[in-house]
């Protein structure tokens, strides 16, 4: 089975995010990128499928700062190939990323045909989860998101996929292969790979590159303004002896008409 995984980098919120002077993008001076969490689960799911059914896993990603670390880590975890798409502009929209990736796939040797194309079903900069369905649209393949597990029947060319909805509701779907799947969580937490192995892989294996095509998609959505959330309320710490605190709480409840 051939599995293709799309990994994306997103802003790391451990660093405090600042709005750039243009008022509609993130200031990249201190911005650090990290692998999108559900993409990391997509990678884990691909490795689990490879262990279960055999085959090969190829990871594809846009060239961005720190992407090499992410790709060497994926190689150390057991993927077979890592391809990065180079030469694209910065600040692409989800529509543009999906378009560039879908057009790079057929032109990169031995990437297609794939039985499964999987990626995270959402990201902190793509909360409505558009990348994977747009990719499916461009590749003219069926799409299922919110995936938390799957069984594959290669001879019948189908996958039986578990999706998990809000409130713990689960649904099981059959989807013909090839298909694009948006992973919510892998069947197991993403594995740890020893740093020594990553260092050895970085010396012995190569990351392939593919040139990004021209941007043909005009963004369908424009960012008009970006700003930090404003504090709407605040907590008041009540201090004093237990009796004083109790009296103050009663006072506040009475004042608000709650007693």
């Amino acid at each position: 089975m051939n599995i293709l995984v799309l990994l994306r980098m997103v802003p790391d919120v451990v660093e405090e995010l600042e709005v750039a002077p243009d008022g509609k993008s993130l200031n990249d001076e201190f911005l650090r990128l990290i692998i999108n969490e559900s993409d990391n689960h997509a990678l884990e799911q691909a490795l689990l499928l490879k262990e279960r059914y055999g085959g090969a896993v190829t990871v594809i990603a846009m060239d961005q700062p720190e992407i090499d670390d992410v790709l060497f880590t994926a190689l150390a975890k057991g993927i077979d190939r890592a391809v990065k798409i180079t030469g694209a502009e910065k600040g692409l929209t989800t529509r543009q990323v999906a378009s560039l990736v879908s057009r790079a796939m057929p032109t990169t040797p031995n990437v297609l045909p794939a039985d499964l194309v999987i990626t995270g079903c959402q990201a902190i900069d793509d909360l409505d989860g558009q990348v994977a369905p747009l990719l499916a649209y461009d590749l003219k393949l069926p799409y299922l998101g919110l995936v938390t597990g799957m069984e594959v029947d290669l001879s019948a060319r189908k996958a039986t996929v578990v999706r998990e909805y809000a409130g713990g509701v689960r649904g099981e779907f059959d989807v013909p292969l090839p298909a694009v799947l948006g992973i919510q969580v892998a069947e197991r937490p993403p594995r740890y790979v020893p740093v020594a192995k990553v260092r050895a892989v970085a010396k012995s294996q190569q990351i392939e590159t593919a040139a990004a095509g021209a941007l043909t998609q005009v963004p369908a959505v424009d960012v008009v303004e970006m700003k930090k959330p404003e504090a709407a309320g605040r907590a008041e710490m009540i201090e004093g002896s237990p009796e004083e605190v109790a009296a103050k709480i009663c006072g506040i409840l009475a004042e608000r008409g709650l007693l």
Binding site: V14, I34, P189, R191, Y192, V195, A196, R199
Partner: protein, 402 residues
Amino acid sequence: MAETTTGLDQNSCDQMTLETLREFPEGRNIWTCIQCGLCTGTCPYGEHMDYPPRRIIGLLREGMLEEIYNSESMLYCVACYACKAKCPRSIDLTGILLPLVKEQVLIHRPELPAELQKALENMLRYGNPMGESPRKRALWVKTSEVPIRILSEDRRPTDVLWFVECYTAFYPRGQDNCRATAKIFNRLGTDFAILGNEEKCAGECGRLSWESGLFSTLMEYNMQLFAKYKFNRIVTSCTHAYDAFKYRYPVLGFDYELEHTTTYFARHLDKLKPLMTKKLNYTVTYHDSCCLSRHNGYYDEPRAILESLPGVKLVEMTHNRINSICCGGGGGGMWLDTYYKTKDFERLSERRVKEALATGADVLAVSCAYEISRFEDALKVVGGDKKMIVRDITELLAEAIE
């Protein structure tokens, strides 16, 4: 200067693997084991291990180490040096054999406890196990009452390069130690500076908690950083960093003079004594840390500081000096508390504070950056937080100096 319990040629130690152990004198020494079991008897979690230290040596000698790789025994090793300290054959279990076995377990085990995995990933990405922004490492400096020089902003040579470390720099109660250290340096007239946000974890627990590659990455980074600046000595607040610098960094040429803050201040006690003007009125019991005391033999220096503090009475716990019981934070234990809880173990920090409470002391003095958080939490768990407070020796010293 305290007697040290090493004797290792560190260069050879770093080249050793489980396959090549017998090519090195320290490795060959393992084959002299008489299977007396003192290591297992003294191991704080030995009773819970399927493969305690004695059996590990037995399996190694029979070429059957693979049996350990899929067991959880190594997760219970807190790298406290107790087995090494008690071994009649001076076999360095904590320094040589157990890290090599742990490394193999990490390669063979499909899953690590999530807390430990996160801490290791954080150390690699952010240079600290808690996953804080590296840009906030020196934020505490703003709260110091004395000026603190950061080398990246003022590159002039310094006498003391103070290596602050993670739990002191980020953890709010650790920062009390930072402010106290800065104050005492200032009163001593020490010419000191810090690395600020450039500093990353020295990585000692990375190696002892299975991750030699992570440790090498951090070691290479910090060695390049040291080479950027001119200084006479490194003084660190972290006993684990002290160990890393002393025993592991020499493989990359580390030959700087090295001290821990506790021993540095003990060395300057004659100058500090006249400054101690405040009477503290505490009964203090001291917890010997594994790295500073058992591994490096500094038993008397911390006690010398405590005994010189006005109004301090020092009382000893049942297990003291070489017999001290680990706080449970070493070797990755710092990030395995949830895991131990699921195993229904009594956590070592709780066992230790019960012993501290039994002395009747009102202060538990420590010298290792891990211990403040571990013992303060443990005191709350056992219901002793109204009877006893935890203070780093440096904090007590700063309190006595007005």
